[in-house]
C-alpha cells in the first residue's frame, strides 16, 4: 500500500511541477500548449549541465532557466505580439521537442553517475504548490495576477501592468515546467533520450483543467494520475481485463471524474489577448 502511494507521488511529481507551471500562466490568462516542448528542452539542459559539471543543483537551475526563458518567449509572442496562444503553444511544443532531439544527440546513451533523489523533487513540488497557493490567494501581487486572468481591464484601470504580470506568470511558470524536465532527466529516469517526455507535457495541459486551476488541488490531481498510471501495470494480469483497457484507464478516469465532479471554472479572460481600448 505504501509502495502504491510512493509510486503515485513519484510519477506524479514531474506532472505536478509541469501542471503548476502551466496553471500559473493560465491564471494570468495565457494558455500554454507548449509544455511538452519546454519540458523536453529543459530536461536536456539539466542532463547536459549535470554531465558537464556534476552539480545537480546547478543542473536543476539551468533547467529552470531554460524553462523560464521559453516561458518568456511565449509571453513575447502571445502578450506583446498578441499572437494566437493555442497555435503559438502548439508550435512551441513541436519546435521544442524537435530541437531537444537534434541538440541532444550527443547525450544519448550516456549514463549519469550522480543522480538526484526523487524525494527531493517530490517534497519541493509540494512546497511549491503551497507557496503558489499562498502567492495567488494571500498576497497583493497574487490578487493582481489572478485578476489579470479574470478581468485585465480592471487591472489596467487600477494601474497594474497587464503585460508585465503576464510576463511574470509565464516566466515563473516556465521555470516550474523546467524543473519538471529536470526531475525527468536527473531523478525519475537519470539519462537523456529523444522522446523522454513521452507525452507527459500534454497530460499536464489536461491536468490544469482537471484540477480547476487550483494549485493545491493540483497536488491531488497529479498524484491521482500517477496512481492510475502505476495501477495500470500493477493490476495488469491479476484481473481478466485486457491490458489495453488498463492502459486507457488513467485517461478515461480523468474525463469521468471531471464530468462527475462538476465544472472547474476557467479564468474568464483565458486565451484572449488584451488590448487597451482607446
Amino acid at each position: 500500500m505504501e509502495e502504491v502511494f510512493l509510486r503515485a507521488v513519484y510519477f506524479g511529481t514531474p506532472l505536478l511541477l509541469a501542471t503548476l507551471g502551466a496553471l500559473l500562466g493560465e491564471r494570468a490568462g495565457v494558455v500554454n500548449l507548449g509544455v511538452e516542448g519546454m519540458m523536453a528542452l529543459s530536461a536536456l539542459a539539466a542532463f547536459a549541465v549535470a554531465q558537464g559539471s556534476g552539480n545537480l543543483l546547478l543542473a536543476s537551475l539551468a533547467a529552470a532557466a531554460v524553462g523560464a526563458g521559453l516561458g518568456l518567449f511565449h509571453a513575447l509572442v502571445t502578450v506583446t505580439l498578441r499572437a494566437n496562444a493555442f497555435v503559438a503553444g502548439l508550435a512551441l511544443a513541436m519546435a521544442g521537442v524537435g530541437a531537444a532531439g537534434l541538440l541532444g544527440k550527443r547525450y544519448e546513451g550516456l549514463p549519469l553517475f550522480l543522480t538526484a533523489r526523487e524525494e527531493v523533487f517530490a517534497l519541493a513540488s509540494v512546497a511549491l504548490s503551497v507557496l503558489l497557493y499562498l502567492l495567488l490567494y494571500k498576497t497583493r501581487p497574487g490578487l493582481y495576477l489572478r485578476s489579470v486572468g479574470e478581468n485585465p481591464k480592471a487591472v489596467d484601470l487600477f494601474g497594474g501592468s497587464v503585460a508585465g504580470l503576464r510576463y511574470l506568470a509565464l516566466g515563473l511558470g516556465g521555470g516550474l515546467i523546467g524543473l519538471a524536465g529536470a526531475d525527468l532527466s536527473l531523478a525519475y529516469r537519470p539519462s537523456w533520450a529523444d522522446g523522454l517526455t513521452a507525452g507527459l507535457g500534454w497530460v499536464a495541459v489536461a491536468l490544469v483543467i482537471f484540477v480547476g486551476w487550483h494549485p493545491l488541488r493540483a497536488v491531488l490531481g497529479a498524484w491521482f494520475f500517477g496512481l492510475l498510471f502505476f495501477l495500470q501495470f500493477r493490476l495488469q494480469g491479476s484481473v481478466p481485463i485486457p491490458p489495453e483497457a488498463f492502459a486507457a484507464m488513467p485517461y478515461a478516469l480523468v474525463i469521468l471524474v471531471l464530468a462527475l465532479s462538476g465544472r472547474g471554472r476557467a479564468p474568464k479572460a483565458l486565451g484572449v489577448p488584451y488590448e487597451r481600448e482607446r
Partner: protein, 347 residues
C-alpha cells in the same frame, strides 16, 4: 512615427507579412541546419527538388490529403470556438470504422462508400462525445479531446492485438490486409489515393458554402463572432456545438478511412496510422483563418513542409527531428507575422 492598429489589412499586406515570416523562419533555421553541415542552398535545394520531381510532388499530395480533410473541419470548429485538438483520435476511429467494413462485411460496390460512411460516423461520434461532455457536464474540450486521443489509441491497439488480429499477420499487431475491393485506387504507382483527395476538395468547398450561404452557417458565424449576440438571438448554442463537432469529427474520421484504405490497407499499431496529422492540421486550420475553402491552399503548404523535411532527411541523413523544428519554427514565424500585418505605421 508610431504603430497603430490596422483594422482591415489588405490581402496583399497580409501575404507580404506571411512571406516575411517564412523568410524569418528560414533565417532562424540556418544555425540548426549548419550544425548538421547543411547550408541554406542545400535546404532550399531540398525544397525545390520536392516541388520539381514527380516523386516529391506525389509526396506533397499524399501528405495533403488528411490535412485537407481534418483542416477544413477544424477551420470551422475553431472559428466557432470549439477547440478540438482530438483529430488524432477521431482519425483513428475512422480507421476503425473502415476496418470493420473492409474486414467483416460481405463485398459489394457499397464497400468503399460504406467505409467512408461508417468511418466518418465513428469519428463524428468521438468528437460528439467531447461536445456532449462540454454541454452537459461542463468538461473543457481541450481536456476531453486530448484524453480521447489516448483512448482511441488503446482501442486500436486492443483490436489489432486481440479480436481483429490477422490470420496472416503471424502474431504481429496487424489485421489481415483489406480485400482489393476495400482498397482505394491511387494515381499511377504513387500513394496518392485520389478519391479521398477529391472528397477532401469537395467537402472543403461544401463547408465553405455551408458557412456562408446557409442559415446554419449564419448561426455558426454569429456564435463564433459574438456568443452574447448568439444568445440574444435565441440561437440554440448546444445544437450548433453538436453540429460543429459532428462535422469536424466526421471529416477527421474520413481522413482516417483514406489513410487505411488508400495507403496501409490494414489496421496496425496506432502510432503508424496517424503520424501526427491531427496536430499538423491545427496549423492548417489556423492558417486558413476560419475559411474552410482556404484550406485548399494551406494544406498543400504544410504538405510541402512535411515532404521537404522528409527530402532533407533522406538526402543528407539529417535526424528526423529536423521536420518538427522546421514545422514549429515556420508556424511560430507565421503566427507572429500574421499579427504584425494587423498594424500600420502612422507618421
Amino acid at each position: 512615427m508610431r504603430l497603430e492598429k490596422d483594422p482591415n489589412p489588405s490581402p496583399l499586406k497580409q501575404a507580404l507579412a506571411l512571406l516575411l515570416g517564412l523568410l524569418l523562419a528560414l533565417f532562424l533555421l540556418w544555425p540548426v541546419l549548419l550544425v548538421y553541415g547543411l547550408g541554406p542552398d542545400q535546404a532550399l535545394g531540398a525544397l525545390l527538388d520536392t516541388l520539381r520531381e514527380p516523386l516529391g510532388r506525389a509526396e506533397v499530395l499524399r501528405r495533403s490529403i488528411p490535412l485537407l480533410l481534418i483542416g477544413s473541419g477544424l477551420a470551422l470548429a475553431f472559428r466557432t470556438g470549439f477547440f478540438n485538438i482530438g483529430a488524432e483520435g477521431q482519425l483513428l476511429l475512422g480507421a476503425v470504422g473502415a476496418g470493420a467494413v473492409a474486414l467483416f462485411l460481405p463485398p459489394g460496390p457499397w464497400t468503399l462508400p460504406l467505409m467512408f460512411l461508417l468511418g466518418g460516423a465513428l469519428g463524428a461520434a468521438w468528437a460528439f462525445l467531447a461536445a456532449w461532455l462540454r454541454a452537459q457536464r461542463g468538461v473543457n474540450e481541450i481536456l476531453s479531446t486530448l484524453m480521447l486521443n489516448y483512448l482511441a489509441q488503446y482501442l486500436v491497439l486492443y483490436l489489432v492485438s486481440g479480436p481483429w488480429k490477422g490470420e496472416t499477420a503471424r502474431g504481429f499487431l496487424y489485421t489481415d490486409p483489406f480485400p482489393p475491393w476495400a482498397q482505394l485506387p491511387t494515381l499511377g504507382s504513387s500513394l496518392v489515393h485520389w478519391p479521398t483527395l477529391l472528397l477532401g476538395v469537395v467537402l472543403a468547398l461544401g463547408l465553405q458554402v455551408l458557412l456562408f450561404r446557409t442559415p446554419l452557417g449564419f448561426e455558426l458565424r454569429v456564435l463564433g463572432g459574438n456568443p452574447l449576440a448568439a444568445r440574444y438571438l435565441g440561437l440554440k448554442e448546444w445544437r450548433l456545438l453538436f453540429a460543429l463537432a459532428l462535422l469536424s469529427g466526421g471529416l477527421s474520421g474520413m481522413a482516417g478511412v483514406g489513410e487505411v484504405a488508400g495507403i496501409h490497407h490494414r489496421l496496425m499499431e496506432p502510432a503508424q496510422i496517424s503520424l501526427g496529422y491531427g496536430f499538423t492540421a491545427v496549423i492548417v486550420a489556423w492558417l486558413a483563418r476560419g475559411h474552410p475553402a482556404l484550406v485548399l491552399f494551406t494544406a498543400p503548404l504544410m504538405g510541402v513542409v512535411l515532404a521537404a523535411g522528409d527530402g532533407l532527411k533522406l538526402a543528407y541523413s539529417v535526424p528526423f527531428r529536423v521536420v518538427d523544428v522546421v514545422a514549429g519554427l515556420i508556424l511560430l514565424a507565421l503566427v507572429v507575422a500574421d499579427r504584425l500585418s494587423g498594424y500600420r505605421w502612422r507618421k
